[in-house]
Amino acid sequence: MTSARDDILAGIRRSLGVSGSERIRRQAVEERIERAPRGVIPARGQLDAAGRADLFRARAEAVQATVEVLSRPDLVPLAVASYLRVNNLPAAVRIGADPYLVAMPWENTAVEVNHGRSDGHDLTSVSHATAGVAETGTLVLTSGETNPTTLNFLPDNHVVVLRSADIAGDYEAVWARLRKAHGKGTLPRTVNFITGPSRSADIEQKLLLGAHGPRKLHIVLVENG
């Protein structure tokens, strides 16, 4: 008996009228993967750094994220403490072990900082985004030893810290950066594009926030450093 794999590939080749060993077809595939052509890139995100930050903020707010801008990273813990207070949340966050976040002066606040993955009992998490995309106000978060993916989905409130310098104009610019960091053809285990807080319109087409993921998404933009 032939395997399902061989049968399916043979069926595809029969329908396409090819053998699978044509050099020209193999070259076309290798070349596309090697070159990864960018296609049509919307003009809207093709701005200077300040323009990209403004557009990112406008697009993120348009999808019900909240955005605040800080000048330096050492101001983040105080801003998070104040966010928790204003929203009547317990003074506790979970932050994984991201070096950028860990280096911040959390000891200047009364906020309890927990590390590692979430087990579903945390109300608020703080993540460090790898990048932002101005085009649609999208955050890009990548998993790794210091960045658990559970922090992006289980807590009710998700605070994401993003350096202004990491805001790209379009998704393609982010892929180029990730390839540089991780090598061609390799991605972090999980790459999350996040555009606003969780939502559903499954009941009579009425838009409701906070379906299964975070009910609130708060973005802290750090302008310098």
Partner: protein, 475 residues
């Protein structure tokens, strides 16, 4: 154990749908919501039409090289530590999934939204083998409680009213206070969130679909708004991706092109909330993520659509725009189509997958108004393909005898212009005489289907051709 198509009874299904007040109320929300949102989103991006062309070209290129992209994808999945299982048909896909679940000693299996899971009927199969599949998308959860299939490919419970959801939750969530207030949609959502949160945390296996499989990196991509798909794929020890072969896409850049038209066409969002790229199982040192990562890659008739009249259907990215804009879908809802895929895309795809003998009626469920093609982000010529199916249905003598003899008579006359003019003139003259008094007919032989619901206006005694000749004949 896949769902047996009832598409053959489209007429009966449609008739029942038109007389169902709950369905008609629910469908009212479809007619207004989706159409305007898509129009605004498309108008908001000047490059939208160019992106549609780009997306079409990407898929055409991929389909023409599909065997090679599958090989490349397989290589990358294995490199990343994942396992790829090939399934020729629904039964093989079910067996792969069952075997993985058994090996994982699974009791609870959470599920993200997947049309392929509906296509292969995986829930019934897992249940028959003592496991509990739990749908976690709110719409899918609602229809699972109701024992139904989706009526829309991205809004599965679009046919259900809020009052019906409340009744279902009260019936099933018996552990909660019967006097609780569920009058607001937000309280229904909150209840589903709480009930399902517990399921997410205790599940042994999570099954998701995939919007794309990326050959360059061996990555599966899901696009969701609720976040349920992500909780399904990161929390359990084992993640199974269930996807069909046409989901292959060459590169990250290619996926990005198509993402720009997907959400805009589907819900009118610029981007869905969560677009997640998963590559293999968790890596050494990762604090979370699944320990096993399996992909079940399903053919189920698709490879034989390549190179033929219906190949272009394989470009479909399941956005739902065609049904959101279809007057027939608006009138009868998704269940009338009798199988997993409704609306114009279902009318083309279903006969390809289950056979024209079982689904030949569906391509007739169209007014050929062309709205589906005009909004399809992948520019699939849906009306043309429905016409193809109609021709095949006719060629294979599957059309009803009355329709066949009627068409035969019309064809006989249409090929003989003089006889045609004579016959129509006589008929119009006769009808004009008979209906002259009232100006309309309340009933008419051979036209009962029309006059049952509305009167037929009586002709004024002259055919269009005769009048054309009389008024414009001199020029």
């Amino acid at each position: 154990m896949s769902i047996e198509p009832t598409s053959k009874d489209f007429k009966g299904n449609a008739h029942r749908a038109l007389n169902d007040p709950n369905l008609q109320k629910a469908m009212g929300f479809v007619r207004v919501g989706f159409i305007e949102k898509r129009a605004v989103a498309a108008a908001g991006l000047p490059e939208f039409e160019a992106l549609r062309d780009s997306a079409r070209e990407i898929k055409d290129h991929t389909l023409a090289h599909l065997d090679l992209y599958i090989e490349q994808y397989e290589k990358k999945v294995v490199e990343a530590g994942g396992t790829l299982h090939f399934a020729r048909d629904a039964a093989e896909a079910r067996e792969h999934i069952l075997a993985i679940c058994k090996a994982a000693n699974a009791k609870i299996v959470t599920k993200g939204k997947s049309m392929i899971a509906e296509e292969i009927g995986i829930n019934a199969h897992l249940e028959a083998n003592g496991m509990t599949p739990v749908e976690t998308d709110l719409g899918e959860y609602i229809i699972q409680l109701r024992g139904e299939i989706p009526s829309h490919i991205i809004a599965p419970a679009v046919h259900v009213t809020q009052d019906q959801v409340e009744a279902d939750f009260r019936r099933v969530h018996t552990h909660l206070d019967p006097k609780r207030d569920l009058t607001e949609p937000a309280s229904l959502l909150g209840e589903a969130r709480a009930v399902l949160r517990d399921r997410f945390l205790t599940a042994d296996v999570g099954i998701t679909g995939a919007n794309f499989l990326i050959a360059e990196t061996g990555t599966s991509v899901i696009v969701t708004n609720e976040g349920n798909g992500d909780l399904t794929q990161i929390l359990p020890r084992v993640h199974i991706v269930l996807a069909s072969i046409e989901k292959l896409t060459p590169t990250l850049e290619d996926v990005s092109q198509i993402l720009r038209v997907l959400a805009r066409s589907a819900t009118g969002q610029e981007m869905s909330v969560y677009t997640t790229f998963s590559t293999g199982p968790r890596r050494p040192g990762d604090p979370d993520g699944p320990e096993e990562y399996h992909v079940v890659l399903l053919d189920n008739g698709r490879s034989s659509m390549l190179g033929g009249a219906f190949e272009e259907m394989l470009r479909c990215i399941r956005c739902g725009a065609c049904m959101n804009h279809c007057p027939v879908y608006h009138a009868v809802g998704g269940h009338a189509y009798g199988w997993v895929y409704p609306g114009p895309m279902g009318a083309v795809l279903t006969p390809s997958l289950v056979g024209v003998d079982k689904a030949g009626h569906l391509p007739n469920a169209s007014t050929f108004c062309g709205r589906c093609e005009s909004v399809c982000p992948m520019r699939i010529p849906l009306p043309r393909m429905m016409r193809h199916w109609r021709e095949r249905e006719f060629e294979r003598n599957l059309a009803p005898a009355v329709a066949r003899s009627g068409l035969g008579l019309w064809a006989f006359l249409a090929r003989r212009p003089k006889l045609y003019a004579l016959a129509t003139r006589a008929a119009i003259w006769g009808m004009g005489r008979l209906g002259a008094k009232k100006g309309r007919f309340a009933s008419l032989p051979l036209a009962g289907g029309w006059t049952k619901y509305r009167d037929l206006a009586a002709p004024e005694g002259e055919t269009f051709q005769a009048r054309w000749k009389r008024e414009r004949g001199g020029r």
